[in-house]
């Protein structure tokens, strides 16, 4: 009992001290992340990033002297929970803007709510429908790159290699379906034919059947579109079958952990990756290098794990908002307008952003580098 009491007194002292030190009203923003549930691999680094940035920003004096307060809610990877939490943030906490949610489904569920509440949403999910059509998405923005951009980067590279026939293998989740759709849509524009179109479940343990079919269909390359263990299993099967054709992965491949898990099998795998995972390989003076270095090193020092591209999506969203609040103050409409018109040539972790009234994401295929796995490390392809 006595320890509980003393802890409470100590906590009270700290709170009252910090209130005394920062007399100005805090700027409150909400954050909806899938901290638990199936999409927790997205939500966890996003949450960690938000906590870390809030501390760093407040330590450096806050936003024009106002402390930044990020109120984080767990959506449990569930649309209904995301809607409930968003309403709580809007009605009880009166936040200036909301960051997240982590998945496309949850973000879509929030589109009408945010538009009605006239409050900015900075989604951390990739799906194109989140910000398109842009005339119905007045208050909605997102920071992750479009799936289509990753597809364009892959097909562009294939075209240079003279690959015209590909087999695709996709995971049967939202991520895989969105990728499959983009692959099928974009292929004709690059003169590429999809000769095999295979699928697998998120917990499947062997994909040799699908890969054998792709090979038998005469494909010159395989494209796997998934996140999670599936991409490692495909890589191992591809290596075991000695297929003799290159394996391309989606931008979900961007974690050193995947190379570690797949071991030697990962050698030669090609993928379009955001620069966050390959910042060490970027030339000095690249506009993204310094911020990527600081973010990655701070994150790794604090959480003993890599932030991954997902944490970066939250980083970009928070930093854009902070800049807007610094310039225009706590005004929902002005914050939104600032982000739409003033985020130009803005270097973030995801790429160089160019927001406009027609594009609420601001990234294209140049946000990706084509990266190959060589000697257990990334190597940027020229």
């Amino acid at each position: 009992m006595r320890t509980v009491l003393s802890v409470m007194i100590a906590a009270f002292c700290i709170v009252s001290l910090s209130v005394g030190a920062q007399a100005k009203e805090p700027f409150k923003i909400g954050a909806l992340f899938a901290v638990t549930g199936p999409a927790s691999f997205l939500g966890e680094p996003e949450k960690n990033t938000a906590i870390m940035l809030q501390e760093q920003i407040n330590k450096a004096g806050g936003i024009n002297g106002h402390p930044l307060e990020i109120i984080i809610e767990d959506t449990k990877s569930d649309e209904t929970q995301a809607v409930l939490s968003a309403k709580k943030l809007l009605e009880n906490d009166n936040v200036l803007a909301i960051i997240g949610p982590s998945t496309t489904g949850e973000s879509m569920a929030l589109v009408p709510i945010m538009n009605n509440a006239n409050t900015l949403l900075m989604s951390c999910a990739a799906g194109a429908p989140i910000t398109q059509p842009v005339k119905d998405r007045y208050w909605i923005f997102k920071t992750p790159q479009y799936d289509v951009s990753a597809v364009e980067a892959i097909f562009g590279h294939m075209k240079k290699q003279g690959i015209a026939k590909v087999g695709i293998i996709t995971i049967s989740t939202g991520f895989g379906d969105a990728g499959r759709k983009a692959l099928v849509e974009m292929a004709p524009q690059y003169g590429i034919t999809i000769v095999a179109d295979e699928k697998y479940g998120p917990k499947d343990s062997d994909m040799t059947t699908q890969l054998t079919k792709i090979k038998a269909a005469g494909a010159q390359a395989v494209i796997n579109w998934s996140v999670g263990p599936g991409q490692v299993v495909v890589t191992k099967n591809w290596d075991a079958l000695k297929m003799g054709i290159p394996l391309y992965q989606s931008h979900g491949w961007g974690s050193k952990k995947n190379i570690e898990l797949a071991g030697k099998a990962a050698e030669g795998v090609i993928a379009p990756l955001g620069r966050l995972v390959v910042w060490e390989k970027l030339p000095d003076g690249h506009p993204q290098k310094a911020l990527l270095k600081k973010y990655t090193q701070d994150y790794e020092a604090r959480y003993k794990s890599e932030p991954g591209t997902f944490g970066g999506h939250a980083y970009d969203a928070i930093m854009m908002l902070v800049e807007a609040m610094k310039k225009v103050g706590p005004d929902k409409k002005k914050i939104r307008d600032y982000i739409e018109t003033n985020i130009k040539n803005w270097a973030g972790t995801g790429g160089i952003f160019n927001m406009s009234p027609n594009d609420h994401c601001g990234l294209d295929k140049t946000a990706f580098e084509m990266v190959v796995v060589k000697n257990g490390d990334w190597e940027i392809l020229k």
Binding site: S205, T209, A240
Partner: protein
């Protein structure tokens, strides 16, 4: 053409062996207690993750890691029975099955907190290139999985049919009251069945992790497929579970290969339904046995 067919077959065998091992785990608890232990999938996950912990994190030698993994899985099975099944004042079958669901959720939570959400893997038991059979390849680890499955079946057969403890365990399932009247310590037999099924599950987990990777939430999928295997072969029949597991695995692979990979889970389950319509007891259990069952 033959190469492609063989490749589909090998892929089916790889997957089927996993389902078979999980199916056998279900049978052990079922045979001794008439309970369907739905935490069976978590035992498999514990096997894979603990093996990683001992061999890759603590760098213990291979055999020591295997023994430690089996030991810790057995301990989990023992604790599960002593803490959740034994204290029941009115042991009711349906209630016990619900408890196993609760335990599976708790175990998954513990695994998530101790291992995180990432997948884990360690090297295959034997190094070397996959074996090629007229153009189709089969990974060495797959042979290990199949071999271990076979070993488990034979071992369990001998245990249940030839040893006094095994016979006592079967007696408990048939009639608890009669078993205790002839001097069998029913409570101890139930505990033993949980330990044994946890060990078999963990052995399966250890064997499949180099092929399929292991993460904290793989359990439910394995449990569903393993349960299908056990049902298809007939609950209680280990031979049935093994054949059921291979049938489902091969069907999935052939469907993915010759029809479409998007349909593979559906087709396997439709066949399972058909078998249950035509032979409700499963492939290897007679109608009379079915009538004797409590559940």
């Amino acid at each position: 053409m033959l190469t492609v067919f063989l490749q589909f077959l090998f892929s089916g065998l790889t997957v089927g062996a996993v389902y078979a091992l999980v199916g056998i785990g279900f049978n052990i608890t079922y045979n001794a207690t008439s309970i369907i232990n739905l935490a069976q999938g978590e035992f498999v996950v514990i096997g894979g993750l603990m093996m990683w912990f001992f061999s890759e994190s603590l760098h213990l030698p291979f055999l020591v890691s295997v023994v430690c993994t089996i030991g810790s899985a057995g301990l989990v099975g023992l604790l599960m029975e002593r803490l959740t099944i034994k204290p029941l004042k009115q042991p009711d079958l349906l209630l016990m099955i619900m408890i196993t669901i609760a335990v599976s959720i708790v175990l998954r939570g513990i695994l998530m907190f101790s291992f995180g959400k990432e997948p884990y893997v360690y090297p295959a038991f034997t190094e070397g290139d996959p074996i090629s059979v007229s153009g189709a390849i089969i990974q060495q680890q797959t042979l290990w999985v199949i071999g271990i499955t076979g070993f488990c079946i034979v071992g369990l057969f001998v245990f249940f049919k030839r040893t006094i403890i095994g016979k006592a365990m079967r007696a408990c399932a048939v009639n608890t009251a009669a078993a205790s009247l002839v001097g069998i310590n029913v409570s101890r037999m139930v505990m033993l069945s949980f330990v044994l099924s946890a060990v078999v599950g963990a052995i399966g987990g250890m064997a499949i992790t180099p092929i399929s990777l292991m993460e904290y939430d793989k359990g439910p999928m394995l449990a569903v497929k393993g349960f299908c295997a056990a049902i298809m072969g007939g609950l209680g029949s280990n031979r049935g579970a093994v054949i059921g597991g291979f049938i489902i695995g091969i069907l999935e692979s052939m469907t993915a290969g010759y029809i479409h990979s998007g349909l593979k889970d559906a087709v396997a389950l439709i066949i399972l339904l058909l078998i249950l319509f035509l032979r409700p007891a499963g492939l290897f259990v007679s109608k009379t046995m079915l009538d004797l069952r409590k559940f």
